[in-house]
Structures are given as C-alpha cells and as structure tokens.
C-alpha cells in the first residue's frame, strides 16, 4: 500500500487522495464557508422573526380568522412591521434558496438537470424578493377610493 493509506479508517475505507468525496477547492474562495455561517446566523434571526410573525398573526386577536385586507393595512401602517416583514422576507428567501441549492447539489447527477433546477430556483427567488419588497413598500391601504378604513377616512 502507498503511504496515503488512512490507518485510522476501517478496512473498506479509501485513501483521502482517491476518495470521490474529498472536498477540493475549485477556486470559489470561501463561498461555501460563508453560506454555512449564513445558514446558522439567519436561522437564529428567523426563529425570532417567524415565531413573532406566527404569534401576532395566528395567536393574538381573532387568529387566522382576523386576517384580511384591513389587518394587513393595520400592520403595514407601522414602519416597525414593514421592517420586520422585509427582514423576514429576505432572510427566509435566502435561507431557503441556500437550502434548496444544497439539496439540488446533493441529488442531481446530470449537469443539465442541475442547471435547469438551479435556473428555476434563481428565477423563483428573484420573483419572491422583488415582488415581496415592492409590495411591502408600495402598499397603499387606501387603494380603494371608497375605503372605510380609519386610516383612509381620516385623510
């Protein structure tokens, strides 16, 4: 046996140099390291943001029954909830994007399949981020001129 034999592994182990699974740098710098760090950091923030979101929308007041246009208008009248939802949108979409990217990398064998799935993933993430951000910051509670919401009748 060559000097690369890994004596700490079992008899069916392959040497680190010939293993199909060794992690070699492909010149992508520390991208995978930072994506790993991002998953943990964003995960902790999302725990607070998403649990807060679920508690306020589903536990307080009338719960799911109270969710309608007026409810959304009431929340987004406040910069606090606009900022909350904006942060949650971006962190959740990027966290999910990165998770699904990992899953695609793990299970696709053909390059073509991998690139098609990643193309769909990128397109869906862009749609969600752009549309979601626009909706939060261009939201108009008085879209309907005959609106009876207090924020509109007070104008």
């Amino acid at each position: 046996m060559s000097t690369t034999t890994n004596y700490h592994a079992g008899p069916d182990a392959v040497s680190a140099k010939t293993s199909r699974y060794r992690r070699v740098s492909k010149g992508r710098g520390n991208f995978e390291l930072w994506s790993w760090v991002f998953m943990r950091a964003s995960g902790v923030l999302l725990l607070v943001l998403v649990f807060g979101h679920l508690f306020v929308n589903l536990m307080l007041g009338e719960g799911i029954h109270g969710v309608d246009f007026a409810f959304v208008a009431g929340k987004w009248a406040s910069p606090f909830w606009q900022t909350w939802d904006m942060l949650m949108l971006w962190l959740a979409e990027l966290h999910g994007f990165n998770g699904v990217r990992t899953i695609i990398n793990d299970y696709t064998e053909k390059d073509r399949t991998r690139w098609i799935l990643k193309g769909l993933l990128v397109a869906s993430a862009l749609l969600v981020l752009v549309l979601g951000t626009l909706v939060i910051f261009t939201f108009d509670p008085c879209l309907d001129p005959s609106s009876t919401l207090s924020v509109c009748t007070a104008r």
């Binding site: 589903l58 699904v100 549309l131």
Partner: protein, 125 residues
Amino acid sequence: MAQAANGTLYRGREGMWTWVAHRISGVLIFLFLFAHVLDTALVRVSPEAYNEVMDAYKNPVVGLAEAGLVAAVIFHALNGLRIIAVDFWAKGPRYQKQMFWAVLVGFVVLFAPFAIRHLTIVFTH
C-alpha cells in the same frame, strides 16, 4: 457497512432521521413561502382580490394544512438550534441524541397550545 471507524454519526437512528426531516420540512416551508408572497401581493391588486383569496383559505382543509405548516416551522426551528449546538458546542456531537429528544419535548410544548388555539378557530367559524 456501518461501523464506528467509518463514522456513524448520521447513519440511521435519531441523527439521520432528523437530518431527513429537516430537509423535508425546509423544502415544505420554502414552497409555502413562494405561495405566501404571491397571495399577499394581492393587497396591491385590490382589497377585494386579497379578501376573496383569504376567505377561500378559511376552511377546515386549509386550516389543517396551516397547522401542519406551523408544525414544520417549529420542528425546523428547534432542530436548527440543535444543529448549531452540534456545530459550535464542544459537547454538542456527544449529546446530539439527547438534544433530539429535547427538540421533541420543545415541539410538543410549543405546538400543543398553538394547535388547540388555531384548530378551535378553524372549526368554530
């Protein structure tokens, strides 16, 4: 063959199955987020369009799906903390099985009150 020399941390049992459940719950939440942003975007179309879709969601089938989604979120969040502990806490890998049971206990503690509250609203309105 699973043998200690080849590393058995994520082969079978608690470690591997929570890894599988973490992936499945994550994909489920990601798909929901896509639908959730699109339906919420209807507030930019008209109050009627948004309310119509919200009313269409207010039935027992969607209500149960919502409970399932919240279950996925709670599991994913708590197991995420377990993963962070395995990665950053020196004794994390040694206690990953105990932490799996802690995740299950936390899940029941958080999900039970939510399910009671949410399903009461869903089935009485």
